[in-house]
Assembly symmetry: C2
Amino acid sequence: MSAETSAWRGAAASQLVRADELKDAWAVLSVEERLEGLRLLTWSEAEELIRGLSAREQTEILLAASPQEARAWLRLLPPDDVADVVQAAELEERGRLLQLLDDTARHEVVALLAYAEDDAGGLMNPRYARLRPEMSVDEATSYLRRQAREHAGTLHYVYVLDAEQKLLGVITFRDLLMATTDKTVRDIMHTDVVTAAEEMDQEALSQLFAEHDYIAIPVVDRRGVMKGVVTVDDIVDVVQEEATEDIQKIGGTEALDAPYLQVGLAEIVRKRAVWLTVLFLGQLLTATAMSYYEHEIARAVVLALFIPLIISSGGNAGSQASTLVIRAMAVGEVRLRDWWRVMRREIAAGLLLGLLLGAIGLLRVLLWPTREEDYGEHYVLIAWTVSFSVVGVVLWGALAGSMLPFVLRKLGFDPASASAPFVATLVDVTGLVIYFSFATLLLSGTLL
Amino acid sequence: MSAETSAWRGAAASQLVRADELKDAWAVLSVEERLEGLRLLTWSEAEELIRGLSAREQTEILLAASPQEARAWLRLLPPDDVADVVQAAELEERGRLLQLLDDTARHEVVALLAYAEDDAGGLMNPRYARLRPEMSVDEATSYLRRQAREHAGTLHYVYVLDAEQKLLGVITFRDLLMATTDKTVRDIMHTDVVTAAEEMDQEALSQLFAEHDYIAIPVVDRRGVMKGVVTVDDIVDVVQEEATEDIQKIGGTEALDAPYLQVGLAEIVRKRAVWLTVLFLGQLLTATAMSYYEHEIARAVVLALFIPLIISSGGNAGSQASTLVIRAMAVGEVRLRDWWRVMRREIAAGLLLGLLLGAIGLLRVLLWPTREEDYGEHYVLIAWTVSFSVVGVVLWGALAGSMLPFVLRKLGFDPASASAPFVATLVDVTGLVIYFSFATLLLSGTLL
């Protein structure tokens, strides 16, 4: 354990622990130590710290706490966060957590659990302030005073619903405060409301928030009946999570779904082993491909020297292209139907980049001081072989790397699975074929 | 031009354009076509569309529009967004944009331009609602009614300042609406306000928003004087941008700073060429390294067959480790002082993954049907050489990939520069040395 942890332990012992110190040491503490730390804080400090934790951490704490503590802490959270906490628990412990809730809250949470975790329905809070259109501003104000006492948490907008719970409009508390008392709710409400469908996935939802600068977006079903509210603070977490997943996939790992240092060694090895094994099996094809050229290598060992250079250049160009396209797809800048525009652009970019690297490769061989000793009398031909191969491989890398995310999406897979290592492996095998084809073409009759 | 574009053009011609259609075609339209489209919309449709654009796109539109139009559209934006628009323009055009503002707004925008674009100061809106603590609830309400008429945009919180503009507390419009009239502002204000320092960078700021579920966070200077407000909707954009930059760097490209399809070909080639050239020069070392082993390859050509397999395994393991660590650092899960915990974990993970792949490699050679024809009589020794090398290279890849982001951060560089291709290149050269060292050790006296 680090010096920091023991410093925190010393402070805890002398009852002088501060919320900040606990937070700093948090990552390296066990659940029991965290619980012990929380008990030393004031109620409002503990409340703030608990609210700021991830659902997974909240679940661990609540399951380790006494039923009285767990009940009190669980009440701090809005129903959508409670649903996340329940979802983060093992199946057999979910019942225990639900038993800690009062009847109303349990009912709400169970309803939320029916939605997929990453749909609008799974992110929404089913509690929100509502008004009828025919209410006067005064009636609305005193009605909201009563409603507000029942609801914890901040309310940002008030929704105007008809008798069938269909959404008619929205007003802010500020509108209400600013309105003259002779107006009705209908007079002051905004009717051009941006809404989200229940089954909208969180990526689309985060794009909706990015387009419009709203703090909260109401969720409605197909008939326009209001179901709940998604707030932008949940979306910040969603955007972070989605980016993390994409980055991990691009790096060639399954999404970890938890902080790196908190995932157990067995879990992290398993999540990496799957892709690494698939890629290794793919790489075994390079050994097979190479064995077809064993004869050429035996006659001209000098060809072997440039194998890593050539296949890696293709891999690098490919991983650039695939990450650019994956990200552009994730943020909605590139759609499936844009494939042709992307392809034209990558052909042009790949060719230019290939020519640049090909020229460097050409000069490297032609101008190398010990070129005749290292590469033999035919070093000029070797130089051209390397140079042409680099152009071909870089072009192919850019093309394969940029098109693979489209193919994956078209087939219904996540484009982010076109990871840098995946593209590199794909390009390695074909890169060898390109290289030895140019070699056969240019060196037949001399070296080969 | 696509079918979609011409469909839009047809619609525009017949004056039937709808905001949604324009939005769908947006990416493929020229600035002039966009402007033409905007002029066909109603004022509120145009307003919504313009507000949803990136600063870069807003700037293009405003510079192409007539001064009257530009002036009207610029008034739609809060000062922090105007500052972004001005910053997105070329230096020589900034004056022209600033001239379109009225004196107060220009003064505010010029003050904001003094901050770095990605500091809290550069993201904040200098307009916010303020109150004095000694005001009664009634006074506060009527004062806010007057203030609200002057301020466009949504106000989320009201800030309580003393005579020196120091921040004392915060109240919501809801608090004010719910309060009985015998209270003063001081009675109902919340004093435990989370604030951000002016120079806090946007990554730290987004972590602050992720920890606390606030809609807006006030920015204060060193003396506690209130400077403005950062709202969470700006943070969603920040989080997206930061993730995009990291993903692009991980893929081995410089950050594009604009949507993929909108960056010119020359620009995109330039941004990729820099890293690709650096990596290519690095890869040239593999040719040099290989030439040291030319003698061994000439004696045992079979060794060449496994070169791509071995170096790529190391590259893949390295890019997994580096992306996991880079992302964990970006979201604050891993800090510099955690390097030793990460290193221990990557040694363990690298060893386990290496043993797994090494075992597959061993079996692949030992059980290959044509093993004696392809690999010769000493195929068992070849199998062990490949297997040991894979273990060594994967372990080394995981170690180098995970430690490189720490080294870069320690030296003051962006850890995301430890891109997958960079790590792969680094590991390639050392991978060759590892492979040929094992080969010399195991095959001396037989094949070598």
